[in-house]
Structures are given as structure tokens and as C-alpha cells.
């Protein structure tokens, strides 16, 4: 079994099954249902691999497999550090 997302412990089989069960076309659906790419690394390694699987399974071009919009903070930040100088 090939692991795709280490943080969330998802295999290629998990991803293919979800794509078929929910008739998915986007990475954002995979994020929602499987939490793919939602781990501490925020999908840096797994999203590109998942995008290839999704493109293959759905017959879309890899460029058309919408990458989920990037959401700052780009790197994790500590609550005490960002919130420090308010008020």
C-alpha cells in the first residue's frame, strides 16, 4: 500500500476509493472528506501526489485539478507571538 499523506495516514487506495464514492473532481473535496493535506506539513508533500492521482482517476489535466487556495499563515505561528502587541 502506497502512503500518499503521511501526516493524515492516507494511502493511494484511500484516495481512489473516496474519489469514486463521492464522485470528486477537486483537491478541496479530498481535503474536506479525508483531511488530505490538513496535517502539520499542510500538504506540502502529499498534495502534488494526490493531484496526479486525481487527474488520472477523473481524466482531467493536471493543471485543471484545482489546487486549494493557499491560506496564510504560510508557516505555523505561535499564538503568543502574533497576539502580543494588541491593545
Amino acid at each position: 500500500m502506497k502512503i500518499v499523506c503521511r501526516c493524515e495516514d492516507l494511502t493511494e487506495e484511500d484516495i481512489v476509493n473516496a474519489i469514486r464514492k463521492y464522485d470528486m473532481r477537486t483537491l478541496s473535496e479530498l481535503r474536506q472528506i479525508l483531511r488530505l493535506g490538513m496535517g502539520p506539513c499542510q500538504g506540502r508533500t502529499c498534495l502534488p501526489i494526490a493531484a496526479r492521482i486525481l487527474a488520472r482517476e477523473t481524466g482531467q489535466k493536471i493543471e485543471d485539478v484545482m489546487p486549494p487556495a493557499s491560506r496564510p499563515p504560510v508557516v505555523p505561528v505561535e499564538i503568543g507571538v502574533v497576539g502580543e502587541d494588541e491593545e
Partner: protein, 381 residues
């Protein structure tokens, strides 16, 4: 694409999916159209907190009846929804708050909610990381049957159950027009074809006013950008949702240990603004640090935006339009459209199929705005 249906629902958020289920259960031929996918709108971006502690009876009843449905929903739909009841803890900051809280609690108790006012000690017993001084709280209200469900799982569970009953979902299909003749809905026009129907449901969330406009209906709803964030997962600490109407903050620990929450952004403005803001991040982090100082060393992993579909009184618009027959309003949910969706869907399904309604919804009609309304005071985010 099908050329005909009993009901066409615009929007596959929690409301569209739940209504599709309730209608298909009643034997209706339902089509749901979404320009993206299930839970792509506010539903997939929300806190998914479920609160019955409201200041207006309309909201409190809708929420209470919905909780009763949530309690048996996994079994009913046959799919997991991640529902849990950790309660909502609502901060009381001063005597003025206390007066409103007493009034709210009295009304809430009268409809059978197990809500009570708790002191500072009990605040710390229920959520050990809270600092009542930092919160500037003199007390709180607590309702143990409030809770949370997974918004993706819940919307998808409803959708899968609706599909099992025969409903059809067209994803990545945009509604472009609604044909009205003799003040009756006739047809829904999409970019993939048209569907003849007698009923169209506007469950398009922050885009509801655009759908209404297609049928020549003007509604007062406004899209307001809201932001939320989530931290890295922590060991299990608490189950309640902590909120304050004064500070606008809400946060809770999710099933996997991360803290999810939000607060009104200093740059909050009306319109379709998608960009997350730095000022939100700063304000939320600051307030979290005050409410729960121990979280200061915790990392924020992600921040995102979504829209509230806001009406002048923060109550939803439900029911058939008075001028266009077959046009069903199902929008204006502000910051609480997830928690009341199960009951909302049931009521609208009853309306469409001509059954007797479990609760009256006339007070939530569009016409109320002409008469003047009582605003829901208990809002956050």
C-alpha cells in the same frame, strides 16, 4: 441533464443537502445544482458549532429541534456526522450582560433547555484552560446539550442519503437564470442545460440575492467576509465551545485536538472579499491568549475566510415568496445556518409537500422586513 424535476435546489451546502434529503424521503424528485461541490460555500468553512442558547425564540426553537434531529442523524442517514455534545459556555462580563443572560435563560428554560448560569469556579471546571480574569468574566451560561458536528461529513451524509432516495446532484453546474411566467416558477437555467420545475429553492448562501434577482425578487441580504483559524492538535483538554457576545470570539477543541475559532475581523466589510487578513490573525491570537493564556505557545496552522449571508435582523428568510409562486427562500442564515439546518430542511420539505408544519415560519417570511423586526442579539464571529 434531466429535463424536469419536482424541485430544483440551488446550492449544495448543508441547507441544500438537508432539504434534498427531506424531500427525497417524501418521494419528491429532487435535483440539487451547485457551481462547485458539496460544502464548497460557508458550510465547508464554518465552525459547525451547534448552539441552542439564543435570545429570540425563533432561533432557540429551530436550534433545539435541530439538536433533537442531530442526536439520531447518523443512524437515520447511515453515515457518520461527527456529532458530539460538549456544551456551549457563554461569558457574562458585567451586570448588563447578566440581565440579558437571565432573560435569555428564562426563555430557554421555558422551551425545555437544560441551561444554567455558572460562576467563575465552574467555568474553570468545565474548561480548565480558561482564565476568568483574562476573559473579564463574572459568570457564564452553560448548556450541556449544545455541541458540534463535522460540517463536511454532515453535508455529505445528507447528500448520500438523498442520492440513495433518488435525488440527483449536478456539481460544477452553475444556475444562470430562472424562468418565471404568470408569477410562477417554470424553469431553472444552468450552464449545462435547463430543468422544468414548479419549485426552485434558493439555498445559495452568500449568493442568495443573485439567485433571487434571477426571479425578479429583491432581498436585503448582504455577504460579509468572516475568518477562522485552527491550531496544531493538542492533547484532549475540553469539549465545550467558549463564546462571548461582547468580544465576538468563539473557539472549541475539535475531535482531533486542534483548537478552531474566530472573531470579527477589524477589516470586516460587505462584499465578496476572499482574502484572509493579518489583522484578524493578530486580534484572534491576542484574545485567545487572554482567554486561555496556556495556548500562547501553541502554533496556528491555518487561517481561512468564508461568508455570512446576513439579513437586517440576523434571522433567516424561510418560506415561499409572496409574489413568485414556487420560489422558496432558504437563506439569510448569518453565522448559524449549520446548526439549524436539520429543522429548517424538515419545515421547508413540509411546506413544499403541503404537510402541516411542525413549527410556524410566518415570522421568518421576507415580508417581515417591511414591518420592522426584533434583532437577534446573541451573535458571534
Amino acid at each position: 441533464m434531466k429535463s424536469e424535476a419536482d424541485v430544483v435546489i440551488v446550492g449544495a451546502g448543508i441547507n441544500g443537502c438537508a432539504l434534498a434529503y427531506e424531500l427525497s424521503k417524501r418521494g419528491k424528485d429532487v435535483v440539487v445544482v451547485d457551481r462547485r461541490h458539496i460544502a464548497a460555500g460557508a458550510t465547508g468553512r464554518c465552525g459547525a458549532g451547534i448552539r441552542q442558547q439564543w435570545s429570540t425564540k425563533e432561533n432557540a426553537l429551530l436550534a433545539k429541534k435541530s439538536v433533537e434531529i442531530f442526536e439520531g442523524l447518523e443512524e437515520e442517514l447511515g453515515h457518520p456526522i461527527g456529532f458530539r455534545q460538549g456544551g456551549y459556555l457563554i461569558a457574562i462580563h458585567d451586570e448588563e450582560d447578566m440581565k440579558q443572560a437571565r432573560k435569555n435563560v428564562e426563555m430557554q428554560k421555558s422551551i425545555g433547555l437544560p441551561v444554567r448560569i455558572i460562576d467563575r469556579e465552574e467555568i474553570k471546571e468545565i474548561v480548565p484552560i480558561l482564565d476568568p480574569d483574562g476573559m473579564k468574566a463574572i459568570a457564564a451560561t452553560f448548556c450541556p446539550t449544545d455541541g458540534h458536528a463535522d460540517p463536511f461529513k454532515t453535508a455529505n451524509a445528507y447528500a448520500l442519503a438523498a442520492i440513495r432516495n433518488g435525488a440527483t446532484f449536478y456539481k460544477f453546474t452553475e444556475v444562470r437564470g430562472i424562468k418565471v411566467e404568470n408569477r410562477e416558477v417554470r424553469e431553472v437555467i444552468t450552464d449545462k442545460g435547463s430543468i422544468k420545475t414548479k419549485f426552485v429553492v434558493d439555498a445559495a448562501g452568500a449568493w442568495s440575492s443573485r439567485i433571487a434577482e434571477m426571479a425578479g425578487i429583491k432581498i436585503p441580504n448582504k455577504p460579509v467576509r468572516k475568518e477562522a483559524l485552527v491550531t496544531e492538535p493538542l492533547p484532549r483538554i475540553f469539549d465545550a465551545m467558549v463564546i462571548s457576545f461582547r468580544h465576538g470570539i468563539y473557539f472549541s477543541q475539535m475531535a482531533r485536538g486542534e483548537i478552531l475559532g474566530g472573531i470579527p475581523s477589524p477589516e470586516e466589510k460587505i462584499g465578496y472579499h476572499f482574502e484572509p487578513t493579518w489583522s484578524f490573525l493578530k486580534k484572534m491570537a491576542y484574545m485567545l491568549g487572554r482567554y486561555a493564556p496556556i495556548l500562547k505557545g501553541t502554533n496556528i496552522l491555518r487561517q481561512w475566510t468564508g461568508f455570512y449571508d446576513v439579513t437586517p435582523d440576523a434571522l433567516p428568510v424561510l418560506g415561499e415568496d409572496k409574489n413568485v409562486r414556487g420560489f422558496i427562500h432558504c437563506h439569510g442564515f448569518s453565522g448559524h445556518g449549520f446548526m439549524i439546518a436539520p429543522m429548517t430542511a424538515r419545515l421547508l420539505a413540509q411546506l413544499i409537500t403541503g404537510e402541516k408544519l411542525d413549527l410556524p415560519i410566518e415570522r421568518l417570511s421576507l415580508e417581515r422586513f417591511e414591518k420592522g423586526t426584533v434583532k437577534e442579539k446573541s451573535v458571534v464571529g
